[in-house]
Symmetry: D2
Subunit: 116 residues, 4 copies
């Protein structure tokens, strides 16, 4: 069975290429789309208090899920276009973060690593 990041990326590329859309998918354009979809996700929570967000997130789960999916699709494709293995990059970053934020120092705090 094909790992799902690779499998999803292949489906996304097939969809793009069937429509001859690679001409519009330069890195800058993909990065623009990524931030615009991230804005669509954030917009769901604008103005709302933590309790309102709790309730809202349950009722509108599918709607928010579509925005989450959009971010995913631009992210997976941009990574692929840049020749970046997303899974590998995420694992490497988790390791780097573990060194920047050792548990004894970072536990229970949101302080940035250079101020720990």
């Amino acid at each position: 069975m094909m790992p799902d990041v690779k499998g999803l990326t292949e489906k996304i590329k097939k969809f793009r290429d069937e429509r001859d859309w690679m001409q519009f998918h330069g890195h800058k354009e993909m990065a623009i789309s990524l931030i615009l979809e991230a804005a669509e996700v954030l917009e769901h929570f604008q103005w709302k208090s933590p309790q309102e967000i709790e309730e809202y997130a349950k009722i509108h789960k599918d709607e928010i899920g579509e925005e989450i999916a959009d971010v995913g699709m631009y992210l997976f494709e941009l990574a692929d276009n840049l020749g970046i293995d997303l899974k590998e990059a995420m694992e490497k970053k988790l390791e780097k973060n573990a060194a920047k934020y050792p548990i004894e120092k970072a536990k229970g705090k949101h302080t940035k690593y250079n101020k720990l």
Copy 2:
């Protein structure tokens, strides 16, 4: 073998919970982090022409990869916190997009679906 979206998400959650960071990871805060990391990706391409981007993306691939990874980590965790199956949501959205953008109508054009 655990599918990699689920596997990565488990690692991200373990990292978060070891540091007792869930208290900071409400949906709005995660969505804020998502858009800030997307901005970090886009910043790499600010001002640059298509040719400059071509070259730059090769030389700075690892650097950009870290930002791409950061977006991935916030996305995977936010989806999980919201109870959204990221893989499923992305496959559903691809189907929905296929209906919105039929190949015969959308091929070679970047027109929005409601103006096709």
Copy 3:
């Protein structure tokens, strides 16, 4: 005395033209810069609780002021490049918002106008 929106815009344009930077200031590029600077503003408040923000905003007022200024500079110039009178556009939008959010209906609520 020249009104200050116009006066600031003239200084911004002089600065740009002395450096022959108009070639890089197409609308898309300016809109990208606008969102990147807005991200710089938001980043100051990432992770922080309301009380932490109160304190932080006093201590780091000048730093945040620089980011606020950057947003202002891209906004004023983009408006000018688009042939938009910023002051007039803002006054028109305030009027439009007054109609969308009549006081009796909107007071004390953050509900979007189409759900009032």
Copy 4:
């Protein structure tokens, strides 16, 4: 005659206070709104080529103007809430930028100041 940044800010604050909206206008919430409106501006130019943008910007000037106005309103109010004099901050930043980007070094180039 009241300078227009101050005049517009007073109108924005009156509009907000008539509706008892200050309770929703903490710095983080305003910064979120700022970036969401900046995304609305950028969205107008998504996917479009330079020539398409030229045409589009003329036809849709009023529409884009509304988004530009929204960014302006959140910016002016956030500055005021933070106790920042927007005009002064922008003039200070222009001076700082003049030192970071001396004309002889920066003319015709989009290189970041620390790489000039």
